[in-house]
């Protein structure tokens, strides 16, 4: 058996295989270069690399495939193929064709370093400028943005741009379920077909129970990635007073904590929901860090009339250390009322937190008002 996985994070597949105690060779296809529109797909391949069955029944594999002798093809074909030569591919873009830029960009994402993601993104953008009809280029550009978002070279709006490109790809090919699942992985619970990564906790428990150490995940699935699907929009509305109702807490003008927001999907239709991702990052140039001795980071959401929110009051519990520098993520969902006209809607949101300056250790209680604009698109 040989596997080909269709996900951006191969470490998760590694944990999955460890959990299921399977060790067959696996190839990582994070860009969907194979072009499959759905998983799983099972293929029976003969000794010459020819497909002999697609999604066969188990009995027919034993009965016919394994016992059958297949004819050797006239042309044997290449027996081993080398990985792309990045320098050669870069030279190939001098021809100026969209496909040469796409091939170069693909190779940079799959084989290049994190520092080359900037170049990959530029190459995809160039390719799209030359040919705006190639759906996979949009999907792969989205993957490149999401990869950069998760790397040290991240730019603040990388996640939002990934979502926009994935959405554009799906508009071009709505039957592409690999692309659809990528958006749903981060999107609202009303739109999720299943939980995606809720198996991770079970896997870790069972692996540890066997006395083994679970494979490490580079990026932990969070929030949307393991939230269970819902059939109706859920709001938790405990009676809660709005924190700092008078707006007296000083604003974080120095920018000790940088807040990034991304909406999945970027544009919401009336009657539908979107998932808001907010990431709070201490500004390392200012040597800012969280102070964990007092209250937790709190986010308050004030939706306009008619809009529903999954929770107006959100918190990230302080870790046990006195100070820390980690990125803190908060996710919540908004439901757009029916009959909302298309356009941009402001969603007042603010966060309250304790932050310290590293240099002289001054710790401050600060508020940050977030500019959250939700795009409403026309009803379907």
């Amino acid at each position: 058996m040989v596997g080909v996985i269709q996900e951006q994070h191969p470490d998760r597949a590694r944990l999955f295989m460890q959990w299921k105690q399977m060790d067959w060779p696996i190839l990582v296809d994070s860009l969907n270069l194979l072009g499959v529109a759905v998983v799983p797909i099972t293929l029976a391949m003969d000794e010459y690399g020819v497909i002999r069955a697609v999604n066969p029944e188990r009995e027919s594999i034993e009965r016919s495939f394994l016992n059958q002798t297949y004819p050797k093809p006239q042309e044997q074909g290449v027996t081993e193929i080398k990985p792309p030569d990045l320098k050669k591919l870069r030279a190939g873009t001098a021809a100026g064709s969209a496909s040469s830029w796409r091939t170069y960009a693909d190779a940079l994402v799959v084989w290049g370093a994190e520092s080359q993601l900037d170049e990959a993104i530029a190459a995809y953008e160039k390719a799209i400028g030359l040919d705006s009809s190639h759906g996979p280029a949009y999907f792969r550009l989205g993957v490149a943005f999401r990869k950069r978002y998760e790397s040290g070279a991240r730019k603040a709006d990388d996640f939002q741009r990934a979502v926009e490109y994935w959405t554009k790809a799906l508009e071009m090919d709505p039957n592409q379920y690999i692309w659809r699942r990528r958006i749903q992985q981060y999107g609202p619970r009303l739109d999720k077909p299943y939980s995606f990564y809720d198996w991770v906790a079970t896997a870790r428990q069972e692996i540890q129970a066997r006395g083994e150490k679970p494979a490490l995940l580079l990026v932990e699935p969070a929030g949307a990635e393991f939230a269970s699907p819902l059939k109706a929009f859920a709001t938790d509305q405990p009676a809660r007073l709005r924190p700092d109702a008078q707006g007296r807490v000083l604003r974080d003008k120095e920018g000790f904590i940088r807040a990034e927001t991304a909406l999945v999907p970027a544009a919401v239709a009336p009657g539908e929901s979107t998932r808001v991702h907010v990431a709070f990052r201490p500004d390392l140039r200012r040597k800012a860090h969280w102070n964990n001795e007092v209250e937790d980071l709190v986010l308050w959401v004030d939706p306009p009339p008619g809009w529903e929110v999954s929770s107006r009051y959100l918190r990230v519990a302080n870790p046990k250390t006195v100070v820390s520098r980690e990125t803190r993520s908060i996710e919540f969902e908004l439901k757009c009322p029916e009959k909302t006209p298309p356009g941009s809607v402001r969603m007042p949101t603010y966060a309250l937190y304790y932050v310290c300056e590293d240099v002289n250790g001054t710790c401050l209680y600060r508020r940050q008002d977030l500019v959250l604009e939700v795009q409403v698109k026309s009803a379907r």
């Binding site: 058996m1 000794e47 690399g49």
Partner: protein, 66 residues
């Protein structure tokens, strides 16, 4: 080997992925060669293509851990 294949398939049948919508065609056709793709191996990141497995029959499982 045979039993192992079938066992692995049985496990995969219960595993994750999409039971929901299948397009009428997977894009693969009996009698055609598998695409000549070189991809990183999950084990060590080194380049691998399915051409490496020529000379033996294999079951290729295209899947995702979700």
């Amino acid at each position: 080997m045979r039993l192992f294949f079938l066992f692995a398939l049985a496990v995969m049948a219960n595993s994750l992925g999409d039971a929901v919508a299948k397009p009428s065609s997977t894009g693969f056709k009996v009698g055609e060669s598998f695409p000549n793709l070189v991809l990183p191996s999950l084990a060590d990141g080194k380049p691998v293509s399915l051409a490496r497995f020529r000379g033996q029959k294999i079951i290729v499982h295209v899947f995702a851990s979700w």
